[in-house]
């Protein structure tokens, strides 16, 4: 087991932690949400919560694209994969995400041709090599992967490849954050903004959070020091009575994002009126679909998917975990019925899911210790 003191800059981290502690108002509790699953991974991996004063709690947000795919969409994808002459292609992360009747892995074992790819461009290559098959790419992810899917559709069109389509499940982060801000369950003091999504969308789309909701947001990098630095920046804003969007990750994130990436998304895709997020329910304008002008590359139009909504398993509390209302270990089935080997909920599937991250690093954080000693 790797512990906190293993990361290189433990001394710097202690110094930042002291600066953060100095900004805490006595008696005040602070709750910050890290939106991105990559951040959740770093926090558990390095036990960052143990560096923070007890009055600061980190809440894990919905930024794990695999975790928010609803069961009905997995079922639809498996329906497509089972049609004659179809090769379904997917990122490896998606293979074990359960639908109502098994995951991609199970469908594969039952005879469907489902292949793992690294990039949508690999999927396009499979289409080129198999002109007598219909090749579908299971497109998932936030704004970090949406431009790749859009670029691949543009490439397919330019090369005249007619047997390729994408099953578009791309989601957008801003409406999810807004849904969380509007949710009565949770009082947050600020946000740690997603680093890689922001390389595409930039920092401007977060401004409403600071302006309309009065909450600070700091776009953060992925190393332990980046996160501590971002928490310090959030605390400083609160101490000075400011609520602004700040960028800690200027090494990578441009304030205006990647305009070319935004442009290709806009060319190929448009916002859906609404989309279901696992655990969060339906959120308006929170996902992308393929535009009608690219209909021949849209698996949803090519295959007339059933589109049946499937309720999450009753025992699973991923919704509460994704909203940050519950910590992973507070879920009834965590670590017993639901493990990374046999996940019930999506948060346990992806290494970026809060439950899997917590399970894999199996650390006794201070909350867990408190809980264990209470009973």
């Amino acid at each position: 087991m790797r512990f906190v003191d293993e990361f290189r800059d433990a001394e710097k981290a202690q110094a930042l932690a002291a600066q953060i502690a100095a900004l805490c108002e006595p008696g005040r509790q602070y709750k910050f949400m890290e939106v991105c699953g990559g951040h959740t991974h770093t926090i558990y991996k390095h036990g960052l919560e143990d560096y923070l004063p007890e009055s600061i709690t980190l809440v894990h947000g919905p930024g794990c694209p695999v975790c928010v795919i609803p069961m009905g969409r997995v079922d639809d994808a498996i329906f497509i994969a089972r049609q004659p002459d179809v090769i379904m292609t997917s990122f490896g992360d998606m293979m074990r995400v359960p639908g109502s009747n098994g995951a991609f892995f199970d469908a594969n074992a039952q005879g469907a041709d489902i292949r793992m790819v690294y990039s949508p461009l690999d999927s396009l290559k499979i289409a080129r090599q198999n002109p007598d098959k219909r090749v579908v790419f299971m497109a998932i992810g936030f704004e970090t992967t949406a431009p790749s899917s859009a670029m691949t559709v543009l490439r397919a069109k330019a090369d005249g490849i007619e047997n390729f389509s994408i099953f578009c499940n791309h989601v957008t982060i801003i409406p999810a954050i807004k849904a969380i801000l509007d949710s009565p369950d949770l009082r947050l003091d600020g946000f740690i903004g997603p680093g890689h999504v922001s390389t595409v969308i930039g920092c401007r789309p977060y401004e409403f959070i600071a302006r309309d909701y009065g909450k600070p947001l700091v776009c953060a990098g992925f190393e332990p020091l980046d996160l501590l630095q971002s928490i310090y920046m959030l605390m400083l804003q609160l101490a000075e009575g400011r609520s602004e969007v700040e960028n800690q990750y200027t090494r990578v994130v441009p304030w205006d994002g990647n305009l070319k990436a935004l442009q290709v998304i806009g060319e190929v895709m448009e916002l859906r009126p609404y989309f279901e997020w696992r655990g969060l329910g339906f959120i308006s304008h929170s996902a992308l679909r393929v535009r009608e002008s690219y209909a021949s590359f849209d698996a949803e139009r090519q295959f007339l998917v059933p589109g049946v909504r499937v309720a999450d398993p009753k025992a699973c509390q991923c919704g509460e975990v994704l909203k940050g209302v519950l910590k992973p270990w507070e879920c009834k089935v965590f670590g017993t019925a639901c493990t990374p080997e046999t996940p019930i909920g999506t948060c346990m599937v992806s290494p970026e899911g809060a439950c899997a991250a917590y399970y894999n690093f199996g650390r006794f954080t201070r909350e867990r210790v408190k809980e264990a000693t209470r009973t």
Binding site: F7, R8, G37, G38, H41, K45, C64, P65, V66, F91, G92, D93, M116, V117, Y118, S119, P120, L121, D122, K125, I140, G141, T144, T145, P147, S148, M151, H196, T199, V200, F222, E223, R251, V252, V253, P254, N258, K260, A261, V264, P351, E352
Partner: protein, 90 residues
């Protein structure tokens, strides 16, 4: 899938201006650089790669720090590298 991995541009391709050969922890593969068309990439530049696409140009120091970090997280990065090694973008 969500990991951004740093790669060093080792070769541009005259016949395919949208592609570049990159080196990621010793794995050399072609990736798409069409989203950085305004950046004028050259061999020796570092880029952050998501699912076969360079999404941003970064400096060498950031690339090294990011690599250290990724190598430290273990399995997830090993899986990503294995997937990249299987990739044959053209």
């Amino acid at each position: 899938m969500c990991l951004g991995i740093p790669g060093e541009v080792v070769e541009l391709m005259d016949d395919r201006p949208d592609l570049a050969k990159v080196d990621v922890s010793g794995v050399r593969r072609a990736i798409n650089i069409g989203l950085l068309e305004n950046e004028k990439l050259e061999p020796g530049d570092w880029v952050l790669i998501h699912v076969g696409f360079a999404l941003s140009k970064i400096d060498e120091e950031e690339a090294k720090a990011a690599l250290d970090f990724l190598e430290g997280i273990g399995q997830a990065y090993a899986d990503e590298l294995a997937a990249l090694a299987d990739s044959k973008i053209e």
